[in-house]
């Protein structure tokens, strides 16, 4: 497969792995903040390639996982209203709420369609003029511009029966919260590649200036990730922290300006609740006043109430990287991908799902070259 296999080449990986083992001489704790990184690290067996001193912890980088239980409940309640058709990315469909999931609601007659792009919702709205078609708008900087473009398109063609349930979030505020938490001693951050395509690498400068954190923007293939880990280890050991762009083939310093403008035209920052992290100032996105008609929460006067976390579930601490899935009493017993209790198990990019799916080799020595 062109443009992919090159970055998985065993020869290149071996070279990088050797280099990493040679240069590492102090413990380095790195958080990968993006769910796609978590999956890729497991899928390609990268953990077992690392020297013992390098520790990878997973952060709050799966949009489904950080969506609070109360919002999930509101999604499901909305799906049960007559004449409402829900459109959503597939990951949301099995997330359990207080009374079942969207999948359960669908089995009981609710109209819930999985889409690959929010734009698909516009076609559905045109086809179903008597229904209010609602897109469950969940995502970080990567997905927000597409959703903004969809809302602008709906406005331009005067599509009155389309709306979104805004639950988008932005990455910098929770990173600040995490770095202020004394329980989580981080040396470096594997910065999310997809988010950075939109925002640009410069977005992470504050992490270096304010927290002295080593930063490397990374792609998702094994050589991308190893290169970024090498960059982070070098920064930490030399004490010369900076933002290093290791994903230069798609990430620029300033990002995709057009996409940023689109997002800023439609959305504005608001305080938002994060699962596991709580309320974070100006970390969420709401529709600007001129687009209020497309906000289903304003249109149908929906209030999101706080919902308690499922008893025993430690997703909150797992999202913060202060505990690992195996530390949770529900992991692998009551909470499995087929019947998840917490959000980290349900989303394909959730930390618990990754651990459960790819397991962890207990005998790592067998696979380490040293």
């Amino acid at each position: 497969m062109k443009y992919v296999d090159e970055y998985r080449s065993r020869k290149m990986v071996d070279v990088l792995r050797k280099e990493l083992h040679e240069i590492t001489h102090t413990p380095v704790r790195i958080m990968e903040v993006c769910g796609t990184h978590t999956m890729s690290i497991f899928r390609h067996g990268i953990r077992n390639m690392l020297p013992r001193q390098v520790e990878l912890v997973s952060g709050p980088g799966c949009p489904v996982c950080v969506t609070p239980a109360g919002v999930i409940d509101a999604f499901i309640d909305l799906s049960r209203l007559p004449d409402v058709m829900i459109t959503t990315f597939g990951d949301m469909i099995r997330v359990p709420g207080r009374q079942g999931s969207l999948a359960d609601a669908r089995a009981a007659g609710a109209e819930v369609e999985i889409v690959y792009s929010p734009m698909d919702g516009l076609a559905l709205a045109r086809k179903n003029p008597n229904k209010l078609v609602v897109f469950l708008s969940v995502g970080f900087e990567t997905t927000t511009p597409t959703i903004a473009a969809t809302i602008l398109a709906a406005k331009n063609i005067g599509l009155a029966n389309f709306a979104v349930f805004p639950a988008n979030k932005i990455m910098p505020p929770p990173l600040r919260v995490l770095l202020q938490d004394p329980a989580l001693q981080l040396d470096g951050l594997l910065c999310p590649g997809h988010v950075s395509i939109m925002t640009g690498a410069a977005m992470y400068n504050f992490l270096v200036q304010d927290y002295g954190l080593a930063c490397a923007v990374a792609g998702f293939e094994p050589t991308d990730i190893l290169q970024a880990v090498i960059a982070l280890v070098k920064q930490v050991q030399s004490g010369r922290q900076c933002v290093e762009n290791c994903y230069g083939r798609v990430v620029s310093e300033q990002g995709n300006r057009r996409a940023q403008e689109l997002a800023a035209t439609v959305f504005e920052p608001v305080d938002a609740h994060w699962r596991g992290l709580g309320e974070i100032s100006l970390s969420g996105l709401a529709l600007r006043r001129e687009f209020a008609g497309f906000d289903v929460t304003r249109r149908l006067d929906i209030t999101v109430t706080d919902a308690p976390e499922p008893p025993g579930c430690r997703c909150g601490e797992i999202l913060k990287g202060i505990c690992q899935p195996a530390d949770c009493p529900l992991f692998g017993t009551r909470c499995v991908p087929a019947s998840p209790v917490g959000p980290c198990m349900v989303s394909s990019e959730g930390t618990c799902a990754a651990w459960h799916r790819y397991g962890g080799l207990t005998d790592t020595d067998t696979f380490n070259p040293e």
Partner: protein, 339 residues
């Protein structure tokens, strides 16, 4: 038999005249063999030498017609393959069909033709059958059950428990074709190149290797639902041995690989409907591979791994990049109603 809408009516399942007409004008027209034509309550088979293998499977795939086949050939090949995996030579099949009221007769005819074609090609007749009709909404178009009987020759003993450390693992062709076909046709996704189901009978392959290599063949499995990953995990757990496979060596169509990347799916967990895993003693592995490749249904066979004692009960995959990870059984259905 034609009615105004040219579709199945509840009457067709009544057991009365309409049922008889449906059976003679559609089923018997295509599924011609003397045992079925007797229309008795049961088929009486000739005396057989050897132990009998008996298997059953139900088919509820959605959509019923997909690139590379339809539910008809899937139902015939699926049960033939289950018999073949125990080293049995399939002898005959039964066919139970549940039809939803309103099913277009044209579609039913297409499916029966596929059943007839697949049974003919495999040389395994359908010797007894049953048809029921349920009201609209109580089934989805058509559900099929097939059961099959096969004969296991003297001295053939193929089962999971025969696998042992040192054995070599072969796969009879490309991975994940059926699962990806169903997914793309269900979601209306268009991907470059031709992705089609691999539904095919496997008893020609199994007969070829069993007749030449006999006891060197230890275990055979067809990785259908749950995919290769789940089948291998089951073998590892049942035998408490370690299965080591190399991602590099697993044959895959580039279109299927690309589609998996695009959709974030792991091909190890997508269904196959015409592939078998063959676990053999190491001495004969290369010769068995050559024999498998000489059979049309297994032309792209490859050696994908081996069995050891390293991590008892686990499946370890060496990735393209040389990393290692565990392969766990599938948990949670990524795609219901795949077959």
């Amino acid at each position: 038999m034609k009615n105004q809408n040219n579709c199945i009516l509840l009457d067709h399942g009544s057991g009365g005249l309409a049922s008889q007409e449906l059976i003679s004008s559609l089923f018997l027209q295509y599924l011609q063999n003397p045992l079925l034509h007797q229309l008795e309550d049961a088929a009486v088979l000739a005396e057989q030498h050897g132990r009998l293998a008996f298997s059953t499977d139900s088919y509820v795939v959605d959509p019923v017609v997909f690139p590379g086949g339809n539910i008809g050939e899937l139902a015939v090949n699926g049960t033939i393959n289950d018999l073949a995996m125990r080293g049995a030579q399939p002898l005959c099949l039964s066919l139970g069909v549940i039809l939803e009221e309103g099913l277009p007769l044209e579609l039913l005819e297409e499916i029966i033709m596929a059943i007839a074609r697949a049974a003919d090609y495999a040389g395994v007749p359908i010797v007894t059958g049953d048809t029921k009709v349920v009201p609209v909404g109580k089934a989805d178009k058509i559900f099929i059950n097939t059961s099959g009987i096969g004969v296991v020759e003297e001295g053939v003993d193929i089962s999971t428990s025969q696998a042992c450390a040192g054995d070599v693992i072969l796969l009879s062709g490309t991975l994940a074709d059926h699962g990806m076909t169903i997914l793309t046709s269900r979601e209306g996704l268009r991907i470059g190149g031709r992705v089609e189901s691999d539904t095919r009978p496997l008893h020609f392959v199994t007969r070829a290797i069993i007749s030449r290599f006999g006891a060197a063949i230890h275990t055979m499995r067809d990785p259908t639902r749950g995919g290769l990953g789940t089948s291998l995990s089951e073998i590892a757990r049942a035998t408490n041995l370690c299965i080591e496979i190399e991602e590099d060596n697993i044959p895959m169509k580039s279109e299927v690989r690309a589609a998996c990347e695009l959709m974030g799916l792991d091909p190890l967990y997508l269904a196959n409907e015409g592939k078998c895993l063959v676990i053999v003693g190491p001495d004969k592995a290369e010769e068995i591979l050559t024999t498998m490749r000489s059979v049309q249904e297994a032309g792209e066979s490859a050696i994908i791994g081996k069995i050891s004692n390293k991590h008892p009960g686990r499946v370890v995959l060496t990735t393209l990049s040389g990393g290692n990870r565990l392969v766990e059984p599938l948990s949670g259905d990524p795609l219901p109603r795949i077959c």
